[in-house]
């Protein structure tokens, strides 16, 4: 069964800095795959390479059976890939409903002419997008913000709106860039439920870049650990936790032995 996402030998340099060096990653269908690593490990860079925002200096990106050396960003949606951003990329001038409806933009075919005259196809597409967005709003209980412009909403609500926009198109592959950042405990649990529901109900494959160890360890099937742009570990939550290389990268203590004894509580789920 071909992996939904497979990165082979991805390297990326910004001038002198090697952001990513020869990174391989493969994510199977229906899998929740965590990507963790200390700050500046290259997690977001990897996500940006996957979504065509950065052009890798080497390596290929495979999505389903199509493979690219540079993924054209505008084709991402039609390939069934959706993502959220580290610092929320919503359309400030539009309402919550319109923002979420944009998640279905890649399916729209009606031309401007048809929209102005309100011809069949245009009206149907608009109605379908509105209904799907309304359903997603209900699912993420955003009803009371539905018609309010996004710019005035609190941070947590904006995060949910962006997730709703990514989910509304029922993507095959969902890339989440630190979705838990700045969220409260209860919000985090709610978000995890939504992610698990997406995987279980619609079989969405999920890649999760996240700092919150508890969350990542809790819901990921497999985890890849990056450090200074290099993949230092890849395996199940349990394997990764006990891998001395990972521990050293995280805690930076020279004697690996001493580290094994004093593992911080939250690292051990």
């Amino acid at each position: 069964m071909t992996p939904v996402l497979s990165l082979r030998g991805i390297s990326l340099r910004f001038g002198g800095i090697a952001a990513l060096t020869d990174v391989d990653l493969s994510v199977g269908a229906g899998e929740i795959h965590g990507i963790i690593g200390p700050n500046g490990a290259g997690k977001s860079s990897l996500l940006n390479v996957m979504t065509g925002i950065y052009r890798p200096d080497a390596g290929t990106i495979g999505i389903g059976d199509a493979s690219f050396d540079r993924l054209p960003a505008h084709r991402l949606a039609s390939l069934g890939v959706a993502r959220t951003f580290q610092n929320i990329a919503l359309f400030k001038g539009m309402s919550v409903l319109d923002n979420i409806a944009m998640g279905l933009r890649h399916r729209a075919r009606a031309t401007a002419f048809e929209q102005v005259l309100g011809l069949g196809r245009a009206r149907r597409e608009a109605a379908a997008a509105r209904d799907a967005a309304a359903a997603m709003i209900a699912r993420l209980n955003l009803e009371k913000f539905q018609d309010r412009p996004v710019a005035v909403l609190p941070y947590g609500v904006q995060k949910r709106v962006e997730l709703a926009r990514a989910l509304v198109g029922h993507p095959k592959l969902l890339l989440l860039d630190e979705p838990m950042a700045g969220m409260t405990g209860s919000e985090k649990t709610a978000l995890c439920e939504i992610i698990l529901a997406a995987r279980d109900k619609s079989g969405t494959t999920i890649v999760l870049v996240e700092h919150d160890m508890g969350v990542v360890m809790g819901i990921s099937d497999r985890i890849t650990v990056l450090d200074h742009g290099v993949r230092i570990a890849d395996g199940t939550a349990a394997e990764v936790q006990s891998d001395p290389v990972v521990i050293e990268a995280y805690l930076g203590i020279d004697e690996a032995a001493e580290a094994a004894v004093a593992l911080p509580a939250e690292l051990v789920v």
Binding site: S44, N48, I53, F85, Q86, N87, A89
Partner: protein, 295 residues
């Protein structure tokens, strides 16, 4: 191809470019420190020149009228900053640009209200007759302008790069809130910036005014300096002078050599096309800071 003539045209073009840079520097100063494209720069140049020449005609000695005008411009700058720009500080750039357009109406109106609408001659006592070099046409006035422009650029670059006030300017430009947190008194910084811009407007006003006569159309010199800004980069003093030289050179050569074939009078729009060509290579000007988008 008459290379002597070509050299003459090229040098004339460079000297014209120097004049454009003088006005462009005023723009850069304000943009570099507050992100505002101050379209009232032309009106400030007019106001400064008109004030100076009116005082001069009243018999006030040269340097006294220069000092009074400079004081007036600094005061004007402070008023502009206080009444117009500070209340709009967190508005989008286009709103601030519009505010400076409204401001240019006010200043142009005030200039004509105080000093009348007549045309004045301005003689700085510097010969503007070609020096005895055969093909090349340079006058003492040209050399004086080039000298002044060079001095201004040097002084401002040094100010920005190596002095504490320069550092404060750059901090204010980078991030106003961060600058506030470090205890920088922003109002004082902006007042100084606008004061220096007032000085630059006065210098540009005098040098341009000596050439065109001090009259309402002096405020239109702005149109010639916009391509320079785009080419050099809005926030680079060096870009203002280099951009000016490039635009002046290519514009003059284009008018002399291509103009006659297409009906002439092309130097107005060719300057923008030249700037556009450079922009396609570097979308934020030759020396402009590249805007990095954090995703």
């Amino acid at each position: 191809m008459d290379w002597g003539f070509f050299a003459g045209v090229a040098i004339a073009g460079l000297l014209t470019g120097v004049m454009y840079s003088l006005v462009a520097i005023g723009f850069v100063l304000i943009y570099k420190t507050s992100g505002v494209l101050n379209f009232a720069q032309g009106a400030m140049v007019l106001f400064a020149a008109l004030t100076f020449v009116s005082l001069d005609e009243m018999g006030v000695p040269f340097w006294v009228s220069f000092a009074i005008t400079l004081a007036g411009m600094v005061l004007l700058g402070i008023l502009i900053e206080k009444l117009v720009l500070r209340p709009l500080v967190n508005q989008p750039p286009i709103t601030l640009f519009m505010a400076t357009l409204g401001l240019s109406y006010v200043i142009e109106g005030a200039a004509q209200l105080f000093w009348g609408t007549q045309v004045h001659e301005l003689d700085l006592g510097i010969e503007d007759v070609p020096l005895p070099l055969n093909a090349i046409l340079i006058s003492q006035f040209d050399l004086f302008c080039a000298g002044v422009a060079g001095a201004l650029v040097l002084a401002l670059t040094l100010l920005f790069r190596y002095t504490r006030t320069g550092l404060a300017f750059r901090a204010a430009a980078e991030d106003q809130y961060a600058a506030l947190n470090t205890g920088l008194k922003l109002p004082r910084i902006w007042a100084t910036v606008w004061g220096v811009a007032g000085f630059v407007s006065l210098v540009a006003g005098l040098l341009w005014g000596a050439r065109t006569g001090v009259q309402f159309s002096l405020s239109l010199v702005v149109l010639k300096s916009l391509p320079v800004l785009v080419l050099g980069g809005f926030d680079s003093i060096l870009g203002a002078i280099v951009g000016g030289l490039i635009i002046g050179l290519t514009e003059t050569l284009a008018e002399v050599y291509i103009g006659p074939m297409v009906g002439g009078g092309i130097d107005q729009w060719i300057a923008y096309v030249i700037a556009l060509v450079f922009l396609l290579v570097r979308p934020t000007g030759l020396f402009g800071q590249r805007s990095v988008e954090r995703v």
